[in-house]
Amino acid sequence: MNNLTRKQRKMLYRILAAAALLAAVKLLPHLFPVPVWMAVPLFLAPYLIIGWDVLWKAVRNILNGQVFDENFLMALATVGAFATGEYAEAVFVMLFYQTGELFQDYAVGKSRQSIAALMDIRPDTANLELEDGSLEEVDPEDVEVGSVVVVRPGERVPLDGEVLEGVSALDTAALTGESLPRDVGPGDAVISGCVNQSGLLRVKVTKPCEESTVSKILDLVENAGEKKAASENFITRFARYYTPCVVIAATALFLLPTIALALLPASAQPAFLAGTDWTGWLHRALIFLVISCPCALVISVPLSFFGGIGGASKCGILVKGSNYLETLARTETVVFDKTGTLTQGSFTVTALHPAGGVTEDALLEAAALAESWSSHPISVSLRKAWGKDLDPSRVTDVEEIAGHGVTATVDGKAVSAGNSRLMEREGVQWEPCELLGTIVHVTVEGQYAGHILISDLPKPEAKTLVEGLKAAGVKRAVMLTGDAEAAAKAVAQELGIDEYHAQLLPADKVEQVESLLAKKSPGAALAFVGDGINDAPVLTRADIGIAMGALGSDAAIEAADIVLMDDNPAKIATAMRISRKTLRIVKQNIWFALGVKGAVLLLGAFGVATMWEAVFADVGVAFIAILNAMRCLHVEAFKK
């Protein structure tokens, strides 16, 4: 009761009053005799209480030229029932209709609220640090770029910025659907919408509120409804013809038998007219009018898509329109970019092959120390593999030779670490590696100490990806990469990719996608998954462009149709399952609503159905369809 709006509560009181009055009027004749002429005014009282606004709207809309409007149809049906002497029925139908509308209104409002709550990741206030060091609580919109805000534990980061002071873990779940916290410290970028979990952070704002990540995401999801799916458009078109058709059918159902009854002599009348009179046919026609509103369909289809998009965003998947959700459900081929999508895009030490007499640790330590001054990704991966603290004072005379490697003096010994070219330059005999990847050879005092294999590893989540996609209905997984054939093959085999194309230039990728587009079966769709950084042309060329790791990358959000907020490729399968579920629910609703309405129309035409079935086919079906549509929002099973 408390969560009804004022309007809804008023309607509830009207319904209760009219129901009570109707019961009283029905009981009256049992208590004392009521003259026949009193029936009409007695039933008119509850009828007007419950239906005056419908009648008023019907009149007003006709004056505005809106004829086939649900108010008009309900008014006509109930006034018709009155005219044929079915007083109680007229009141009942109106009562039911209003109750159904109230339910519908409530359910839609509720679902709209729950979707809005889902997206309520926008912080309301920011703690702006003033010049004297005190804090003032302000609207994030009023914070200028360059000013400093303080984020206390438990608060949301109000604006995008850079940490000046403080160390903390940020919960990105609202943005990514992933509960793994992200550690941040001074110098790190933080994104609005994340929840600060542990420490106090002083953040320098780098973007105005309207350009912040959280504003962009909300904007995107809120406006997703603008791009309508084909089934949505179908329903609106259908609705435009459905109502007039049913009304015309109703008119014919009443007029034709009535005229036949009046004109033909009893002996010449067809069998189905026998024993009927015009009021019976009018009654059947009125039943048609009650069913003629297409509301169940018109509400439940967009509601399903809205729920699906809302549910997906709960999982950190942003879908830019209902049409993309629909296309995703038809996806047959998924094309992946390799680096950064299937693989980590960063280098990891995967093997240590020391030469005779050298331990693995010694080899790695020497290399890590020699490269300790460099910020090259390979050096970073060496230091990460070593994992222990490196004392920079042990390293002197560092020299980086571009395209070759590094030479340095470590603990007084000459160490060089680099590729085969460096070895040749130094005149050292080196051993080739049988494994694929980038090789770092190491020499100590001119002696070959062995080599270290560094490669770009597949993401751990990618291993179950193909399986997940196949389970979600994808037929083919294709990988495109600029890397060498051998490296591509290794990754493709490990991940179970059906087809791969290696050594492609960016332009070749577009070409490959085009030839794959030409090969797909009719009606099916092709999705391309990339990191959104340099594959914008391919993202737009594919039926569906999916960008991943978009947290903080504006380019990816711009170019793609579906955006995964984090780096987890397994989310693609999740998105696919959500889209299929949504589409399944949309189809269920369409067939259910059309089926029930069709059946009741048929029964009504043969005089079997009553007003009761008709009201159920109208508001009852709408209510059930709305409840079904709400299931789109439940994605817990997909989250894991």
Partner: protein
């Protein structure tokens, strides 16, 4: 120029579809969407006559769904 407006008391989905249909027919409107779920309207219309067109849109919507208010 593309602009978004919030709608209040847009009660029926079918009316939203009808409003959208009617707005699209107005001269100078390139595209329009009325979202029943988001209670929002997006209008893409000629820059020069935008205000004039908006007046027409308000009039048209009043006809279709008199209870619905466009928050300009």
């Amino acid at each position: 120029m593309k602009k978004r407006f919030k709608l209040t008391d847009l009660d029926c989905a079918n009316c939203a579809a009808k409003m959208e249909e009617a707005i699209k027919k107005i001269d100078g409107v390139h595209d329009a969407t009325v979202s029943f779920m988001a209670q929002k309207m997006t209008v893409d219309a000629d820059d020069a006559r935008f205000d004039e067109i908006m007046k027409e849109i308000v009039a048209v919507c009043k006809k279709v769904e008199p209870d619905c208010v466009i928050n300009l």
